[in-house]
Symmetry: D2
């Protein structure tokens, strides 16, 4: 435990990388929403492996909806979605059975549970995040009436930072970056690392626009706290910041405080260092967050390690791995933003309605 | 909602800055632990205002234990602790009743709830964190058998970074920093900002040693995810990172991966970029995290803002405020680390025991 | 754990019978409701001991509101309420320290926790239910807009059943029964039992009118399931039934099924064997439930038992006890109905609103 | 919401009667337990329809394990189990689409959600309980080390009560009753009702032996309260009682109190009116509970009702229905006992271990 996230919009997931299937049960879904298998599939296709610069594992990741939808509409019943594993080369993981891959959770899973499914990393695999993306599609339907728009993109890879942001550019390059020029340099850096049997890290920025004010439940379900948890749950994430983030520590109050202004009948702030959240509650300005991802742990360079019985050995991790996990994490970060916002929206609507 | 944190070790808090009292109910406490009012008070005294460089508000913050302890020992019943508010100058907040202080949650609380207790910020005040510190003392008792040691300190203020770490130094200087020289510069920077009616931000690093391997519950109660949530819940926090954190994004896999080694009968890693957590589960190495705090929102410089009815105005926030909130956040960060670890320890002990 | 009940309207309680205080934190409260200390006190006064035919313990049970209310209105922040223990004759319980009172939870608390606060039964005491009654007042405010009316009364004591129901009669007799004649017989039976150093059991019926249809969340937060849990949580409860209850087992489908009818623009059922709940969801008809209470465990007759070290002994339980707990349970049953309905109403309003 | 039950041993279910599939995700499972598909199937076969005196629906109810088991053992990861619907004659339910069957939840689901899957009752169908039975098999594995034995049987149908209990008899007769003679009379009564287009109710008693003392978590996760909730969640349940139950209301304290005695090095009670639970915590004596079931709502007699648009009409509910739901509820009651006990055992082991 625990394999559930959320209070009002709650997802419960299961599945191992090389087991029969992955799946997610989404509870708390508003009845009457139109959702089709195609909606889900479209987002899963953005995340799936087998695309350029990412793992060559070939998974169609075809999702099947098992419940909660009747004649094309949600019924308020839990929606279960199933993704069968097909291209699972479990055999090719046999040489990893008895050793601990550096940077992976082989060691900690065995320490914790005393048993582990080593095939493809079992449940520690990022394959699990397909479930989160599938749930995210339902979440987006729930928050759609506010016209909330969520866009994530890579803003840094291997130390190369995007300096401009062009949303249309994101889907055009291989690294999901909004800066065409930077993207080219990032691709070069990734390919260089791969040639050297190595991997690189990166940073994703996610922006949610049209978020209504009032979302988030202090003092322990603050919107920024729930986002921090959701983002830090993503495989390989090592840091999360909201708005000005770590840079805030270097600013003065007079500089950091966002000044309020009435504009067009609405109270806004002239700047948005807060990243759209004050006191754990959304301000109505864009929510801005960044998530740092470590370089892929699976590298083909030889590394020292120990076997499960504690003997020194070395390992080179072949298999089908992304040289930079941040790229494929873009739709995952968006999905987690949607999952957290759907939970917050449902919570706030209960509060508003009861008044 | 929600004012509860944790699953196995659960705290539920209440109280406004200028209401009758604050308090916390701690549930899930192991029976038979020796706890006294003095234990709690000692930690509260570290956090309380009225000390140098911090808010001059004079609160004795005397805690009263209301339940759950019998003849000096915990009984397994919920422990309620109460802190009365005494030095509440509510009147001096009257001029803030009808306007939104920049950087504060006045606006968002009103947007969310349609009503707010403006006195001293009501529940949005950091005074709430006294509850978290009190709970943290109980948490430490629960994890004491592992001899877990938690130490937080300021590592950066106003852009000035600590370059050495001497644990004994922390309590000796006014900024809770482990670097004597840096501390002096930090103090100077804070005082300069205060003179200028301004404030500064800072970064706290927290290290937990002797944490057993196996803590944390993937995939949604990962130890790092729960820490991220707990730390981001602290007032003024804008960023959280674990181990190498954002720097990981600039590293290569061959550099970032911590190599396993058997040493003294125990499997360790030779480096600790992971910050003691892999796959959301503790490795047995020290847990290392950093939390970024924005500069104090309350500054005496004049700032533009609007009234609750949307009229342009200006405000200078007098009152009793810390010019750098990071200083007093040191025991709070430690307490949140303890609260999260106690929850994880109880969860893991259930898992181990049931095997 | 756990000392919390409810999901959307959540109460968290603490306190021992002879400790410093009892208390409850109510979370999820709709902002803007008018609530005063007097509202709470009025219900507590109905439950408090020292009244006729009930325990002579003299507790003023004065409640203090510690948070969540500002200028007479709820703010959406958690409301904490405190009741100090005053008339705690702990000394008079000393002879019970080392033995297990038959029918009480002395044995099971010690088995579970390995330690126990024996004074007045510690947390196992029904004194805890004062917290539930206090919370129930807030719950009633939340459901007030539906004009839900909750009335509980004693329908059976010592085998004597009420055969008529006159609501106005309930507060006029000493046993909270709606049948004047039966009430007289019940009183006589109770007094006879008391004279003989014995106690009697009873049954309470509770009816909630004007409950909107649609409350309850299948398949595990069904309204009847949540009511069953809440009622069975009450000290000395041994059975719960909804609508026709156990009698349903002896009926035929053609007799038990409530036929639907459109009347006055509304769909109703002509009978109400369902007790207002079908499939775990309220029908809009009155919710009807009954709760069976065992006879008070504390009796002055000599009973065999064992000491904590397992030696045979006998015990006569003096102290201040009700000879029939069902009488004082009437406001408690009402409060639990209110607490469950408030939770269900908030849940359903979130669902409705999000459509 | 909510479709999850339990805290430490948590089940999350999904699926409609005539949708693609049913399923359950079981979280909190102890790693290292041996579980096979056959173990699950054996219990499902006890519950499945198409057996004598029960619905003629032919469902093989073949379960597929999707996750959480590796090489025959649990890994601590969530176990998902899937049951495909095959014999779903959805068409035959079309005439029910626009009317409300008396006694069913057609009306309340539509009132609550504004939309409903009418096919076979959608999620309100008792077919859902197959999930609970599947989860119960895992629960039994968790509590197996205590050698807990759970046996449920029918003790009353159509007013005919069992007067003896012979465990071996239960599986031999068509009504799962421990009294051969009574069983014959029950069968006759059921067949008579069916011939008359009618149905009958019944009562199940469940006994759990070898339950360790100390299970249950006051004051809101009392063992009896959690059992009451779990049992009242079962389709058609209208009442729950523990131990002496409603009869306790007619007893005197001197008669009802179970006297403690030391026997064979263990403290027991000489009687068990408490039904194995005192103060919400197990005593170590057998846990005894009874659940009352209303007569099957689907009857072929003509009944008055209204259409969804409120017009008067009549309905005769054909289809494939049990004339007495209590019979098939026997393995369901056992499964819910197991699910609740597994949750309580894991909770208590965490408490014990942490001491």
């Amino acid at each position: 435990m625990s394999n559930s996230l959320g209070t009002h919009f709650k997802i419960t997931t299961f599945g191992e990388s090389h087991g029969p299937a992955l799946g997610v049960v989404v509870d708390g879904v508003t009845p009457g929403l139109e959702i089709s298998q195609k909606d889900i599939q479209a987002q899963l296709d953005r995340r799936k492996p087998g695309q350029k610069l990412t793992s060559p594992r070939k998974e169609s990741d075809t999702v099947e909806i098992l419940s909660g939808i009747f004649e094309g509409k949600t019924t308020g019943m839990p929606i279960a979605m199933l993704i069968r594993n097909k291209d699972a080369h479990s055999k090719s993981y046999d040489y990893l059975k008895d050793l601990f891959r550096p940077g992976h959770a082989d060691f900690t899973y065995l320490e914790k549970y005393g048993i582990r499914d080593h095939r493809g990393g079992g449940r520690q695999s990022a394959r699990e995040t397909a479930n989160w993306v599938a749930a995210g599609v339902i979440a987006r339907k729930i928050i759609a009436k506010y016209k909330i728009k969520i866009v994530a993109s890579v803003v840094e890879i291997a130390g190369i930072r995007a300096s401009v942001f062009n949303e249309k550019e994101i889907s055009k390059n291989m690294v999901n970056c909004g800066d065409k020029k930077a993207a080219e340099n990032m691709v070069a850096a990734i390919e260089k690392a791969r040639r050297e049997g190595d991997s690189v890290g990166g940073i994703i920025e996610v922006v949610a626009r049209n978020v209504p004010s009032g979302l988030g439940d202090p003092v322990f379900d603050k919107l920024d706290a729930d986002l921090a948890k959701a983002f830090m749950s993503i495989n390989a994430a090592k840091g999360v910041e909201i708005g000005s983030g770590f840079e805030a520590a270097r600013m003065r109050g007079s500089e950091h405080n966002d000044v309020f202004l009435k504009k067009g009948g609405k109270i806004i702030t002239t700047t948005n260092h807060a990243g759209g959240i004050l006191g754990g509650i959304s301000t109505g300005m864009a929510i801005v967050a960044r998530v740092a991802f470590k370089p892929t742990s699976s590298i083909t360079q030889e590394q020292d390690t120990v076997t499960t019985s504690g003997k020194n050995t070395t390992v080179r991790v072949f298999g089908r791995h992304d040289p930079c996990v941040a790229i494929r994490a873009v739709p995952i970060v968006e999905a987690m933003m949607a999952n957290v916002l759907a939970d917050a929206v449902l919570s706030q609507e209960a509060l508003r309605r009861s008044r």
